[in-house]
């Protein structure tokens, strides 16, 4: 498969999945605030954004398996950097919460942090190594 086709397939799944994730997340926040939902409802509704999130990671997995070995290496390096960023924040902020009374960091933000760090790393490594974004 060409990288162009793999990229099209990637974004064709990633973008709608991200939109479903964001809108359902905002929907749960709104519903929890405005509607008299039963206590278990937010737990049940969380299935929707989690399914969308799983789709985003499936899109990334599929993209990596469909591109060639050099481009795959760039993506894998970028994912590792994204994970390192998440681990650094979890550990660093966790220590500050324990020992410096830092305000609690919502673990919800670790997923967006991963995607931002991954995207920045992919851009930098691609520019350096001559791959394609």
């Amino acid at each position: 498969m060409t990288v162009e086709r793999a990229t099209r397939r990637y974004f064709a799944l990633l973008v709608p999945a991200m939109l479903v994730f964001m809108s359902s997340t905002l929907g749960i926040v709104w519903a929890d605030d405005k509607l008299a939902l039963p206590a278990a409802a937010p737990y049940a509704l969380t299935v929707v954004p989690i399914a969308a999130l799983l789709s985003t990671y499936w899109a990334l997995w599929r993209f990596i398996t469909e591109i060639d070995e050099f481009l795959r290496l760039i993506q894998i390096k970028s994912i590792i950097i994204g994970l390192i960023a998440v681990m650094m924040v979890i550990t660093g902020w966790g220590l500050m919460e324990i020992y410096a009374d830092a305000p609690a960091l919502g673990i919800f933000w670790l997923n967006p942090l991963f995607w931002v760090a991954y995207a920045i790393a992919a851009l930098i490594i691609t520019k350096r190594d001559g791959g394609v974004w």
Binding site: D68, E69, F70, L71, L73, G130, V132
Partner: protein, 62 residues
């Protein structure tokens, strides 16, 4: 790792895009291999060797 891919490709008057197409990889991958920024896997090295009709050690040199 040094290689003679650029020289062999130019002998045949192929562009990087043409070679990439023959190898079923991206042009960026051909560019990275030619520039020595990426060493190909063994299957891809064999593919290159078959395409150019030469042994691998004639194309790649460590």
């Amino acid at each position: 790792m040094r290689n003679r891919i650029k020289e062999l490709r130019k002998d045949r008057q192929w562009s990087q895009a043409v070679l990439a197409d023959k190898l079923d990889v991206s042009r960026q991958t051909v560019n990275a291999i030619e520039g020595g920024r990426y060493d190909p896997s063994l299957p891809l090295a064999f593919k290159l060797a078959r395409l150019f009709g030469r042994p691998i050690e004639d194309i790649f040199d460590d």
